[in-house]
Amino acid sequence: MYHAYSNYAGGKLMGLIQDFHGLGALLLITLGVAVTKSHTATAVMSPLIRRQVNRAGFRLLPMAAFLAVALGMVVIGQTVLILNRFGAQSYVGTVMVTVVVRELGPVLSALLVLARVGAANVIELGTARALGEVEALEALGIDPIQYLVVPRFIGIAASIFALTVYFILFALLSGYLFAFLEGVPLRPGEYFRQLADALIWQDFALLALKTICFGTLIAMVACYEGLARPLRLEDVSRATTSAVGKCVVGVVLLDAVFIVVYLVL
C-alpha cells in the first residue's frame, strides 16, 4: 500500500518536472523564433497575429466590460458603502487599488481569456497535431512554432494586458457610479484623487509584467498541451481539461508570487 502511494506521488512529481522542463523549453524556443524570425514571412504572420489579438482581445471586450461593471457594482460599490458607514472614506483609493488594480483586474481578465480562448487553442492545436497538420507545415518548409505558437503567444499576452486595463477602468467607474447612486457623499474629484494617491509607479510596471506573465503562461500551457506530444483525436479533450487545470493553478501561483512582491515594495 505504502509503495503504491509512493509510486503514485513519484509519478506525479516526475510528470510535473517533465512539464516544467517542456514548458521552459517551449518558451525559450518560442522567444527565439519570435525574435530571429520577426522579419520572416511578415505578409503571412501579421494577419495571423492580428487575428489572435482580435480573438483574445477585441472580441472579449464586451464580456470583460460586463464582468467589470458587475463586479464594480456588486463588490466595489458595496465596499465603498461599508467604508462610508465606518467613516473611512479616505481609504477608498487604497482599497480600490489593492483589490481591483493589483488583484481582481489581472486575475479575472486572465481567467476570462483562458476560458474563452486558451481552451479553444488547445482544441485547435491538439486537433491539428492529431490530424498531422504540423507535419504538413514542416513539409512545406513552414516553421510550426512561428506559424502556430508565436501568434497565439503574442495575441494572448497582449490581449490580457489590454483587457486588464479596460477591466480596471470599467470596474472603478461602475463602482463609483453605484456608490454615487447609493448616496455616498464622495465627490468624483475626491474619488479619483484618492485613487491617484494610492497608485505608485510600481503598480503600472507590475501590472504590465503580471498580465504578460499570465498571458505567457496561458499561451505556453495551451500550446504545450496541444502540440508537444503526439496526440490522437480522442486525446484532445483530456489535453484540454489538463491545460485548463494547469493554467488555473499556474495563474493563482503566479498571483501569489506577485502578492509577495507587492508586500516587499
Partner: protein, 247 residues
C-alpha cells in the same frame, strides 16, 4: 549553402533503419536505395508496413534511426535551418487520407500558403501561380471552399496542389489514390504520368515521383521502378516487366 549536384541522385539511403511514428521501434531495417532525377518509384507494402514512416524519413521530415539518408547529396541532420528550409522547397509531400488540408483555410489559401510564406507576399501577388496550379489540378471551381465542404477525393487533390505550388523537383506521395473513386484514381495515374514526363505542373522538367501504395496493380506502367516493404525488410524489385505483387 553548399552546391548540390543536379545530376547526382535525388535520394540516397545507405543502411537506413526507419522509426515507427507511434512506438519509436524500428519499423524497417536496412534500407539501401538510390533514386535518380526523373525516376518514377512505387513503394509497395501492406497497411502498417511502415510506408509512411519511410517516405517521411526519405523526405527529411524525420531522422533515420540508423544509417545515412542523403537528399540532393546532403544529409538533413547535418544541415543548418536555412539550408533545410531551402531544401524543403525542392521537395513536395502529399499525405494520404485527404492530404492533411489546413481546415480553417480555403482551397486557394491552402495552395498559396507556402508560396506567400517563402516569398513574403500577400495572396494577390502569388495569385497567377496559384490559379495555374488550381487549374491543372481541376480545383479552380473549388478555390473558395474549405475542407469541410470538400469530399476526401478533392481534399487529396488539394494536398497535391499545395505540394506543387513550390514547383518541387521530387514529389513524395503516400497512397495518393487509396480509397478514391475510380474516376479520381484514373486522374491521379494520368496526372502523375504527365508530371513524371515533364508535363503541366512540372515546371518544365521531369519531376521525380516516389509513391507508396498497398497495391501495385493500378500503377503498372513503363519505366516504373518498384520496391517492397515486407516483414520489416526492404526489398528492391527494380524495373519489372511483369506484375510485381505485394503479398
Amino acid at each position: 549553402m553548399e552546391k548540390t549536384d543536379c545530376n547526382g541522385p535525388v535520394l540516397e539511403a545507405v543502411s537506413v533503419d526507419v522509426f515507427s511514428t507511434w512506438n519509436n521501434h524500428i519499423q524497417i531495417a536496412g534500407v539501401d536505395w538510390k533514386v535518380l532525377p526523373g525516376e518514377f518509384w512505387l513503394i509497395g507494402g501492406s497497411n502498417g508496413s511502415g510506408k509512411t514512416d519511410l517516405l517521411m524519413t526519405a523526405a527529411g521530415l524525420r531522422r533515420p534511426a540508423a544509417g545515412s539518408m542523403r537528399i540532393f547529396g546532403r544529409e538533413p541532420a547535418r544541415m543548418s535551418e536555412t539550408e533545410l528550409l531551402q531544401q524543403r522547397t525542392r521537395i513536395g509531400f502529399v499525405f494520404k487520407g485527404g492530404g492533411r488540408m489546413f481546415n480553417e483555410l480555403t482551397v486557394a489559401e491552402n495552395v498559396s500558403l507556402a508560396l506567400c510564406y517563402h516569398r513574403n507576399c500577400p495572396v494577390e501577388q502569388a495569385w497567377d501561380e496559384v490559379r495555374a496550379v488550381l487549374e491543372i489540378t481541376g480545383l479552380a471551381p473549388l478555390a473558395g471552399e474549405t475542407a469541410q465542404q470538400l469530399g476526401e477525393d478533392w481534399q487529396q487533390r488539394v494536398g497535391l496542389a499545395r505540394a506543387l505550388a513550390l514547383k518541387p523537383e521530387v514529389l513524395f506521395l503516400d497512397e495518393p489514390a487509396a480509397g478514391l473513386e475510380a474516376s479520381h484514381c484514373q486522374w491521379w495515374r494520368d496526372f502523375l504520368e504527365q508530371l513524371s514526363a515533364g508535363g503541366p505542373g512540372s515546371g518544365g522538367r521531369k519531376v521525380t515521383v516516389i509513391a507508396a501504395t498497398n497495391d501495385f496493380a493500378p500503377w503498372l506502367g513503363e519505366s516504373r521502378r518498384y520496391a517492397l516493404i515486407k516483414d520489416g525488410r526492404w526489398q528492391l524489385l527494380g524495373e519489372q516487366s511483369g506484375q510485381p505483387r505485394i503479398n
